[in-house]
Symmetry: D2
Subunit: 452 residues, 4 copies
């Protein structure tokens, strides 16, 4: 199979192991990913970002095939039993393609309303293991036991651990594809690190008694540095964009209000069974969960515009015509002391800021309540956090390593000037979200808390 | 307003005329375009081609703003009353943004089942003129009479005719954006002509007593040649791709079967009202029409998989898991005589080929009928046609012209070697579509008609 | 060895056969190519086009390595003795790297002044065969007899003929690289065909009893069509650009005047020995020829600005500050009859045009002579010709073929609508070149011959 | 004038102020820049990096025209007398085009051997001010006094100081072009920040009583962050690449040996007068300096291969066939303590490292001397330094500022998490350079000083 892709160009699944791709693509569960946008509501802000999780899944599988080529080129460094073999390739390719199978629409928002803190990763594993799914049958049809192996791999367990890490780790095919794809599609090009060079820079090293993929030499540093910096840029510009966060707040409001109505016995029309179960605190069945897709939720929201519950109808209408909450930036470390304390990660200081933010939220909710609004649904404190580069403090195979000829492997943060400086540092962007019409009274109420 | 776009990069609506963009984007009808993919089923073949008509509409408006800059730079050539003015800019920008407003999902397929041959252009004009739409109100809110002016412009009528042609003509902002966008998103890069240079190559000339935008000098030829060649490549590779055509045949089958069921009084579940009206030969209302979007049709097809009508259920299931009809290329002029007759457009010859194609369809339908299938729904002759460059034979303002200093304007086909050679020539790609399981018997039945 | 390249990105010479690259790069003759610009004077018009033949040579070798991958993937179609082997790879890689070794600065201009019509290809073969060159020693150091094999391959002779054709044929690694590189560097993007897809589209077929590389199926047509169209665009826009042609006319004048001075015994200062020999009709030695590079010629031209021969000094000064001859487009077939004769290639018509062009040159030279100028050095008729796609009329292995399953190979011009229409057609761009100051009198003298 | 450029695409000098470009391009001094490669010896490592300072100069002027558009869009923020006017535009455009006029081949290497520490900036100003140059005449021909104004602007002095800073400052058109161009041409894409967005992000603010160009709001941070990070990557990967540094060491050796020979009265053949004067400690004349270009130096080095001075001949031969010195990385802060001291800029520590490096050089020179080589010419300690982002500690108009609505301007390092973390930090890359044949004995001699 040969495909064209806006991000990777020619995508070629033609080898032996690649035969797993066809049967998996033909499953109902994988085709469902065509109906779930990778970036959820982000296309409200970046109109080009309409790509689906399906396109990303294909892209991740493609990156895996490219990784295979690199692994072949460097396998001499490995004892034979650790080398890539046919089964390992099939498992890894399937895992790469299926890694996001359990994503629903706006998936982390749905995770919040489900009982029991089920993450999309859990749904992925369920869909693979459940003997009733197409995808399970397709995997078992390829090789007996494969469904279990792939599910395990997605949890980090595999005979070839470096392969499992390449499916899901600090530097994995998931991130490798989505950084490029999201950068490309949003039109924000900050995540466009150099994939060719990154792959070419990989070698095998032994760390803590385990074979790991590591960066070969100092000339492999730039692609990996720009991978992490690109990720940071994407968080700042896209994933944590104020309008995306504001739209998510609207959805949170819709889910919360719908849940209340369900529990009051006034379930809104067209409510998908998965949401109904979740609202009642019941376990969501796999079938119901997989029936959720963007189309299902959007047509549901659309019908809610005509709901006889005014709160629900209003929230739905606002989403539909993109009338989003306003965002107000709250004070940060940088504002507190522009002369140097910044980045000190002084716990006391940060604690103090947290209190200020909560106070801002409290006062704004008072304003909303006085205005006759449901303050808990309409006013929210939103703190977006990103740690551009983190590194285990102990030398472990989980971390990233740099191989330098004639020396012991170095930790990436030691070898890279940039990542060394950023290591473990966190940036937080605090905002207050509220309906546009409350802007003036809220600004007045917070005047003494905001920077001059 | 500033946006990012994967195709155009920075998209900036910041001038005076650009103020029309905000209110129009906030309308229900424009937001609906987010839920209609530009290329319909093409993402089944090119997974990246998931962009919506909304992204395209924004792109077309952006190209219009870029055209404005060029028009400003060359306006000295025009009498003052023909120059671009504020109203003209607003009208043209609105028309560019709204030009596809009336597209539905898989729109030309729906056009076929509607009574009275209504095209998406008619729906666009209706949506703009109907006083009940958000978009009508937004236009009239900007300037009284604007709805009418914009609707007229979309039909080619405007005080500044060259502007109307730039909205909808041989070389218009619609094509200018979609060639780039579709090329980019499919990952097929053949449509990537040079927009900067194309715009820079435009000047004003007088043809048949009318001011027209024309190509300035021979060095403006390459971008316009590659515009038309790019369009041809896109037709060959994407718009007429065999799998896209095959998927469209499935949808035709679904519409046809659903229509039959409606007329038999067994209307399938969840049938959108627009489809129901069309099936009964009744006029489709604007409201019902605008309720159609990809989500609506896809969830409708999805529920039909469980229909108690076996034919409908089977067609729906095949679309869902992408089990498309097989395509068989039929003989062409080139096969008939590989030594030179090609391109002769010899009417007799073509007539003979037409008869061969119809005979192929007839025999294949016999095979299908013998196999117990609904031959009319399952077997189709499909002839894709493209004329890469056509030119009016009379000198008229509709055609494209080249301005050469100190001479009268030349027709583009006279000035361009490439387009001159292609002028008026048509390529036809005939195929037979049928269910995969009939491949062997159909090949046998056609043996004497297919090339050796 | 790994390199970075603006055109190909990561360039990797790491396989076994690639070991030939290192020793060849370290030769004096290959390093000399760094001092010869690929496009000669074109950077006077396209300032970015400053790339050297060295960069192109590396690029051509890279394309060869990519072709190897494709050949490996399709070799099952071949009898074992025709398959790519280690020696074939080394020969082909060396030939790709060395194919332009014999280019001098402005090489076809130098070819014109040499006795005996020696082309750069002859110098290439000489440099490889001469036991005194580094490159000869390097080749023989790799494998005995290799110098002869590589020289033969560059003349189209090799045990694996499809490999020799890939080094030098209609569709070879030379063109494959230079179209991309020249497009990229000039900033004119018309030559940017899709190399990935072109390679992927190649298969082996048997034509006239010989194994040839051919296009696999109709979906391989677009990259090859855009390869030929891209080449045509580059000819129209870059290689035949009027200012490039004008600058070449200046160099012709310089060579001609210097030759006269040599023959008069007044050889100008710093004249490179190769030019001196050529002017005297003597054979140019390989050593003298290889001493020519851009630096040598440019510093020679630079010192001629101070020559006591006024004609030579004036020509040199004009080149230095880019005061180029004017170009006047002469009438073409299209001008003669804009209504359809175009492209008829009617011999009589073309003959008539030729006569008109020569008459234009004759009259303009009269004007120049009257103005006291050396008319033969200063006024020239310049007819640039390009045949975008030509095809042998007999079925032969030289031509390009398309493989269609279950059928005999088709000629490319039969399978491709575009190339079929263009097949064998030639475009000619006639211009008159003369000093700017003669513009008015020359226009007057030609008035009745130029189109209205 | 319209040009095409591999980096910027369409380059258009068509406004009123742009009329200065034509006459300046036609000068001998600007045309000379075509013969000086922007990156000197870098094309030995990155074969594509063959672009000249001419192409860069045109690019810098183009970025200036793009800056003009932005300045027009934001000028309402300025008092009228500070706004861009026609004279300011002409001055700035000329300064942008001419800013590198005084660069010679391998210019900082030549600076080292000249008496009196003359930098290329001094030569630029001299060439502009000298009434004997074409460029001076061209400037005065455009507007009287313009030569002085442009020369002053290049030294940071102009009525519109923000314009002078845009010609030569932390964020200027020089860097803006060269980062993009060098990234593009080397094929290393790390310097490809987003110029469109960077320009769009600029606004006017008042700092320390002066109007400065500053970043508008937090959404302007990413392009400027990636500008500085891109610059850092380019230093790490290209400008400080070990092979470039090694080639520079060879040139240093050539200059040093030639100087010795001059002072011994044995000046080598073809020595350019500028080098001769410099070697004797005499002032170099402007004319002699401007006669230096790549062609002049390369043909000089080429003739030195046959010098009767064995040292000079050997150095010249090694450069010609690219037999560069070996580089050995010396211990850094990171090696000393991989667990956290890194980046502490602990003066004591760094002092200690300096001593280690000098000791390495001392021992290696002993080895070279014992081997009969000229140790001072052949063995060098080379410490490449880069400070990715520095910021004045006092609030001054020299620094970069961020404008945040309703607040005082913030320093860039306070507003940007990334630049805040990097502010003032320096990375040093210490290497020892020596002839390849000394590798083993030098490694032995340094064993106790190198990291395990």
């Amino acid at each position: 199979m040969i495909l064209r892709d806006p991000v990777h160009g020619l995508v070629d699944f033609e080898g032996d192991a690649e035969r797993v791709i066809g049967p998996l693509l033909a499953t109902r569960e994988v085709q469902r990913l065509r109906r779930i946008r990778q970036l959820g509501l982000t296309s409200l802000v970046f109109p080009g970002a309409e790509h689906s999780r399906f396109a990303h899944a294909v892209g991740a599988a493609h990156v895996m095939t490219r990784l295979f080529s690199r692994l072949r080129a460097i396998e001499n460094a490995l004892p034979i039993e650790h080398r890539l073999d046919a089964e390992g390739m099939r498992d890894a390719l399937a895992a790469a393609l299926l890694h996001d199978l359990g994503h629903g629409p706006f998936s982390h928002l749905f995770e919040e309303v489900q009982p029991g803190d089920r993450h999309h990763e859990d749904w992925t594993v369920d869909a693979i293991r459940d003997p009733g799914t197409d995808v399970h049958r397709a995997l078992e049809g390829i090789s007996s036991g494969m469904a279990t192996r792939v599910a395990d791999m997605l949890r980090g367990r595999h005979r070839l651990r470096y392969l499992a890490r390449a499916v899901s780790g600090t530097l994995d095919v998931d991130r490798a594809d989505y950084l490029l794809r999201d950068s490309h599609m949003t039109g924000v090009r900050y995540g466009l690190y150099d994939l060719d060079w990154l792959l070419r820079a990989l070698g095998f090293g032994e760390v803590a008694g385990e074979w790991v993929l590591a960066v070969e030499g100092r000339k492999g540093l730039p692609p990996i540095e720009s991978f992490f910096l690109g990720r940071h840029f994407m968080y700042q510009q896209v994933y944590h964009h104020k309008a995306t966060r504001a739209a998510e707040a609207l959805i949170r409001g819709l889910f919360a209000r719908a849940g209340e109505l369900v529990r009051e016995g006034r379930a809104p029309e067209r409510l998908p069974p998965a949401l109904a179960s979740a609202a009642q605190g019941a376990t969501v069945s796999l079938g119901d969960y997989l029936d959720l897709d963007d189309a299902a939720l959007l047509s549901c929201f659309s019908s809610w515009e005509k709901s006889d519950d005014a709160v629900l109808a209003d929230l739905a209408a606002r989403l539909r015509v993109r009338r989003l909450p306003k965002t107000l930036p709250l004070p940060t470390e940088a504002d507190r002391d522009a002369s140097g304390t910044r980045g000190a990660n002084d716990t006391e200081e940060v604690g103090a800021l947290d209190a200020v933010w909560r106070e801002c939220e409290r006062r704004a909710r008072e304003v909303a309540t006085r205005a006759g609004l449901r303050a808990d649904l309409e006013v929210r404190l939103d703190v977006a956090e990103d740690t551009p580069y983190d590194e285990p403090s102990e030398p472990t195979a989980e971390g990233l390593w740099v191989l330098i000829r004639h020396r012991a492997p170095q930790r990436l943060g030691d070898a890279s000037f940039l990542l060394g400086e950023l290591r473990g540092k966190t940036v937080r962007v605090p905002r207050l979200l509220f309906p546009a019409e409350l802007r003036e009274p809220i600004l007045s109420a917070l005047e003494d808390l905001l920077p001059a």
